[in-house]
Every structure is written in C-alpha cells, then in structure tokens.
Symmetry: C2
Subunit: 495 residues, 2 copies
Amino acid sequence: MINSLFKPLLSETDKKWKPILKAFEAAIGKDGVVRRKEELLTYECDGLTSYRQRPAVVVLPRTTEEVAAVVKICHDYQIPWVARGAGTGLSGGALPVEDCVLIVTARMKQILEIDLENQRVIVQPGVINNWVTQAVSGAGFYYAPDPSSQIICSIGGNVAENSGGVHCLKYGVTSNHVLGLKLVIPDGSIVDVGGMIPEMPGYDLTGLFVGSEGTLGIATEITLKILKTPEAICVLLADFTSVEAAGQAVSDIISSGIIPAGLEIMDNFCINAVEDVVATNCYPRDAEAILLIELDGLQVEVAANKERVAKICRKNGARDITSANDPETRLKLWKGRKAAFAAAGNISPNYFVQDGVIPRTQLAKVLQQINELGEQYGYRIANVFHAGDGNLHPLILYDNSIVGAWEEVEKLGGEILKLCVECGGSLSGEHGIGSDKNCYMPYMFNETDLETMQWVRQIFNPDNLANPGKVFPTPRTCGEAANAKLEQFKEIDLY
Amino acid sequence: MINSLFKPLLSETDKKWKPILKAFEAAIGKDGVVRRKEELLTYECDGLTSYRQRPAVVVLPRTTEEVAAVVKICHDYQIPWVARGAGTGLSGGALPVEDCVLIVTARMKQILEIDLENQRVIVQPGVINNWVTQAVSGAGFYYAPDPSSQIICSIGGNVAENSGGVHCLKYGVTSNHVLGLKLVIPDGSIVDVGGMIPEMPGYDLTGLFVGSEGTLGIATEITLKILKTPEAICVLLADFTSVEAAGQAVSDIISSGIIPAGLEIMDNFCINAVEDVVATNCYPRDAEAILLIELDGLQVEVAANKERVAKICRKNGARDITSANDPETRLKLWKGRKAAFAAAGNISPNYFVQDGVIPRTQLAKVLQQINELGEQYGYRIANVFHAGDGNLHPLILYDNSIVGAWEEVEKLGGEILKLCVECGGSLSGEHGIGSDKNCYMPYMFNETDLETMQWVRQIFNPDNLANPGKVFPTPRTCGEAANAKLEQFKEIDLY
C-alpha cells in the first residue's frame, strides 16, 4: 500500500508524489519503488562522498520497457531524474538532485547474448564490468576497459562516464568498445544507436552517448566488443630513485613505439601507504617511484618488448627490474597498485582523487608542481596513475572533520586541474565531469564550444530532466572556491 | 568586375546571385569565386559519376575565417551549400544540389603544425591524405587511414566520409585518428570540438562530426594522430582454388587472434583484369581467389605471425604462399590490388563500386550470392575488398551508353546492400551514404532511430542549407528502383 509509506497526515510534498508513486508501482511493481528514508540513505551519494543529496524516490526497473515507463512518467510529471549504476563514480555523476527520481539499474544484471564468433556481448547496464570477462574468458576472450573498481562498477556507469582503466593505454577507453546501445531518451522513447558492427552509417550517436554522463538518456542494452586473450602477458616492476627518471622512462618507452597494455606509476608516499596495508613486499619502500609495465601479445613479441623496456628503464637509472610471466606472480605485482585507493583510505580519514590529463612528456614537471601545491596548501598528495597516457590521479589526503578542510581540498584540486589544462591536458581522463568539475569546463572550452554541446543536450533533454546540473557549468553549480579560481582566467567568460 | 561574368541582359537568376557574388568576392577575393559555366563543369560530380548537377557558383576559400564568411553569406541569403574536398568520394557526398554554392577546399592545403613529440599533426582540409605520411615519415611516423585514393583524396573529405582503407582493419577508420576539429557550422560560427588529446570531457562532438558527410558543417582545421612506423612489415600473397577456402582462411586468421595490418581478397575475375592492365606477374591467373595479408610490428612478432598465417592458409588449401619483407617487393605484391579499380575501368566502359559490410564469417556465402545476383541481372561483378573487416566492394561492370543500364545496375547494387543488411552487416563500410544510399537507410534504421539523427542535424543545420538531401532518406531522393526494393521490406516504413 502506498499509504504505508507515508505519515498518516500527508504533507504537500507527499501529495505531489502520491500519483507519481502510484504510476511507478503500476509500471514496475511495488518492490521496485523505494521511498523509505532509511532505505534512501544508500543512494545519497556515489563514490564522490563529499556531496550528498537524498533522492525523493528510488526506482529499480528490470527491463528496457520498465525504464521507458519510468522515464515517461517523469516526463509527464516533469520530475527530474538521475540514473545510477553501482554508484562507484568519482565525479558525482550519479549524485541525486533535489526532489528527483533516482533510476537504479541494480536489477538489470543480465548478460543477454554472447556471440563469440563475432566477438560481441550484449548486456544490461547493471552488469558488473568484471562479469563480462568472466563470462567469456573460458573461451579465450576478455573485455578490455578495466577501471580500478571493475569488480563492483557497472557497465552502464562505465558507458555514462566513458570509463578508462589500466588497459586503456593500449586498447582505448569504453567508447572504443561499445558497438551499439538501446537507449531510453528523456521523453520515454526507446532508440537504438550503433549496432552489431563498428562504424555504422549515419551520425555516430553511440559515440555521442558514451560519456554523456546520463544527460541524454539511459542505456538499457549495451553491445560490447570483446577481444582475444593475448598469448602471453608479462608484468615488469622497475624502481627509480627519482620521479623525473621514472617519468622520462615512460616517455622513452612510448616514443620507442612500444605500447604497453598498461603503464602505471606510483610515488614513494603511495608505495609506503600500499606496503603498510597489503604488504606486497615487492615495492621497495625507498624507491622514489616505481613503474608497473604490462606487456601483452605473442610470446616472442612480449619477450622482445620486455628486453627493450628493461633496457630503457635501466638507461633511465632504474635500480631493480622484476618481472612476472605467470598469472600468480603478475597478480602479486599488481596487488599494490589495485589497493592504492584503499591504502589512502587507511592512512588518512578522507581522501579526494583528482583526475586530470597532461601530455606524457611533462610528467616529471607537473608531478613536481603538484607536490609544491600540496606543500603550499598543507596537504599530503599521493600519486598513483596511468602514466602511459598522462592520466594523473593525485590522491589528496585530508580530514573531513576539520572545518574548512574539504573547501581547501576542492580548491587545491582545482589548482591541479588548472595545471593540467595549462600544459595542454584535460580536466578529466576517465572519471567524468559530473557534479564535481562542471564549473571548470570553461578552463577548456569557450562559450561557443560549450553552447554547441548544450544544443545537443537540449534536443535530447529539452526539459532538462535527465541529470540536471551535471557536466555543464551553471552559476548554481559552481562553488565559491571554483568561482574564485575562474577569476584568474579573465579571458574566458564563465558560461 | 561582376558584370563581366554575366550576359549583358541579367536574367532573374542572375539578379538573385548578383549581391551574393559581390559578397563572396568581398569576403575571399575575386579569384576565389568561380562562376563561368565551362569552369563549373569540373564540379558537376564527385567520384560517383552517374549523378551530375552543376553548382550555381564555386568558392575557394583559403582560411577558416574565409570559410566562415562564405557560410555566413549563404546563411544570410538562405542559399544551400555543399562542401567538396578532392571530389574523389564514391557516394555522391560532394554532389552539388540545384542552385547551390559549392565550397571547395582546394586552396586549403597547408600542414599547419607537426608535433612529433605528442604524435599529432594539424592540417587544413584540402591537404591530400598521403601528404601527412610524407611529412612525418622521415621521422619514423605515418598516418594510418589509407583509402585507395590516398594519393589524391583530401583529409577534409576523409573526415566527412569517415574514410577507411587497407590499414583500417588493425588501426581503425578516420574517426579513430581525429583528435579535434575546428569547424564552421551552418550559421557561420566557428566552433572547436575535441582538442589535442584523446577523450576530452563533454560530449564527443568530434566523433559526431566525423562521418556526418558535410551535413553539420565544414572542418577547416583537423588535428590528426600519427603512429610510429612499425619495425617490420611483411606482405603475404596466398592463392586459393575456391573463394570459400579463401574466406575461411580470413575467418581463421582473425579467430586465431592475429590482426593483420591489412587483409584483402581478390577474386579470379579481378585477378585477370588486374594482370591484363598492370601485369604484376605475381597473381596466378588460375586462382579462384587470392589473399593479400600485411603483417606489421616487431621483427620477431612479424616473423612469428607470418608462420601462423601461412599455416592457416595452407590448412585451408592455399596452393602457393609468396611473401615479401623489403619495401620494393611488398609494393609489387600490392600493385595489383591498388590498380583494381583502374583495371575495372579498362575492361568495361563503366563500373559501379558498391560498399557494404557483412560479418566476416559469412564471406563465402555472400560472395556466392553476389555472383548469383550478377548472373540474374546479366552483369559481371569483380570482387576486391577488405576481407578482414568484411567490407565488400563488388565492382559491377556496365556500359552507360546502353539505355536503362545504369538503372539496372543501381537496382542490382541495392540488392547487394539488402543482402549485406540481412546477414547482419551494413549499408556502407567506408564510402558513406551521400546521395547514393540515403534511400536505403530504412534497411538499417527504424523511423525513431532516423528521427533521432535528424534532430542532431536540425540543431546544427536548422535551415537544411548544409548538404541538403544527403545521408537521410526523403521521398525526393529515393529513385523508383530503390522504392521498389523497399517495398520488399514491408515491416519497415519508409521514413
């Protein structure tokens, strides 16, 4: 009964919601509609925990048709809605907005089709990233994009944020692995974009939707490309006595024409944090930086590239180079990297992961400047990131219980982004813009460029019901800290 | 003087154009405005010579600002315009429409920036595809997409049509190699999309524009990714006594996890046509099909893959396998493939190149059906195409001087596309939709899907001035033949 969800005396708000809830229940069943305050708590934030907002109601559809029905109801009542996958996103893309419907894909976890012959898999959006590889690995295939959160994050969220991961250096981010999408757009229509083969004729709406962060619609069926598992994989661990030397080794490896499957860097602070927590006993605590380099391909190719990479590392002053070919030892070498965020959580009450991109060639310089910024603001910063594609992830450690700390960290994070953009990089490599970075968009785009993107949003989402306030800067969503930073960019008007 | 371009007595049409021509001349200079009938002849068609339409005027801007000025004038006077690169397109994408302005990029041939460190090059749209590789090959780099027409086609046209080529099997089509674009959109505004690094935040408008066939605007500066020249390249030529066996070898090579840099097939008819013209003396005239397989990478990798590919070919009944490592012999093996279209022109007064995609696994079956269709219609069809990605290019040989021949060929081409779509493929692999295939779009997309694409067109191109009548089906652009074919698709309404 609807009434059991409410206090006996209906408030004005409850009156407004009554017919809407009834419509949701009719469309997807009572068990798919969550309205109790204590149950809504879980949904107040995603992985960016510093922002919180309780949704008015959570709905849990199971099929494309149910999603379409829910979105149609939102459209009819002009209620804003936000889509949410596993809620692991780091830019607040799935952060609810006030009085919104949160459409959660947790019950859309079916792998709908596996077509090994044509190397594709069709999944519902709630399917966990790692499940795709698990479903096809027995037959010698895998799904390449592998965010750190891959054992808990969902494909739908990956599509929304165009997620990356360690293996995206060689194989590209999510957009390179999505062939087609079944979408529910904000008026409740069901649209198919792309298809079963790459490079379909007509406009590339698949590419447009991947990374649109829930502002153009919600993907309800996703056709993914899967790749053949390589014949051989080798992981090298090289340790350096300076970050500059490690950065130079990264540049030299890529310049030599080798594209490793993964190429990650960790600084001394991060190495020690990780060893404290998971004790890999592989990462030398006195190293200023380590590189983790994964090579894949044919046996002979991996063996040859291993020699070349080792030589480049040694030329750049690497002290030790360990390598692992068998899965178990490889996993051991990766273990610390995979635990880096958890380790930051262990040594600090809170941490904030920034996500920016710089040209690879400027790694050492920018890392130095990031450290200087950290000292200036009085916060420790651990660095662990995808060095191969210049995708930085500085982890700023702080204590949220200290008044004003978060605001300072936000400002420091903004300074880091400014650095990235100024040296020819980007505001985001793989975590998306979401609620966290929309106010920084004018760092990268002028008014006309942003307006052009807004046109696209407006045609799909004319009433601004789908994930309002995300991605694009509006005065409302820009914090004071960010505004202050923007004043330094006098030449660009805040859009 | 404007007047010198006209007959003494101005017609109504001339009166309409007088102020427009004046405005063009003021914007880009008199030498950039072509209006004489005999000079306009060149621009009546692109590579799809069966359709012709003389433009009202041709303009030849040199810079982004000049393009913007021209487009703004068209916008102010509400004159339709069509962009044209080198005019080598095969789907009529650059076919003028009645009473239009043709914006030709022939004077926009500057390579604006070469940044080897970051592996990118910025070019104007009139730059010839091959020039990019020429400009960077000395430093050990190349530009991967290589349409057959690469020595004459322009990068702007490649961007518009999302062109492919032999090397796109391994490295992807044009959209995978464009980082950013400076665009003039149909209201005359200049917009930057994408940038200098991949995966910029916000909507992927770069991906949206690449392949939009001039309907959303015109690219005036294009930032391209360049790749490191591989250490080793090897070309194998394997000959088979049946097309089925060659097709199975293609499937087996890809299934084995090897991705050749190129994997091309030629049938017996094509082999003989080519040998008649260029006499490579490499292609056995009695072979039912040959495969040309290019492998690239490290020396050891290429050597290992060469063994594996040869083994797969032999398993599938290949008679002879020739291979070439040195550039000169490699070129010799490729020579016939590159000359295939010219050879078709030699043995037939006219030929029509169809472009469709099928799942690789159905190669042999579909080729058989194409031959049957050819017999049924009474036309010879030569097959030479990108086998690795299932991108067919049947060459239908005909004589345009025979009344009704072109109409029959068009119908036969439509039947071939129908075959492609029915077996899970696509209307176009790399030549685009243009004027030629827009009426077939409902084969692949339902009304809602097409409408969604049209929304996108309408926001960028609301007055339908940029390349009107292309890509999307309208009753006006669908020939009777195509309409008759469409009637067989009762379940899909013609949009």
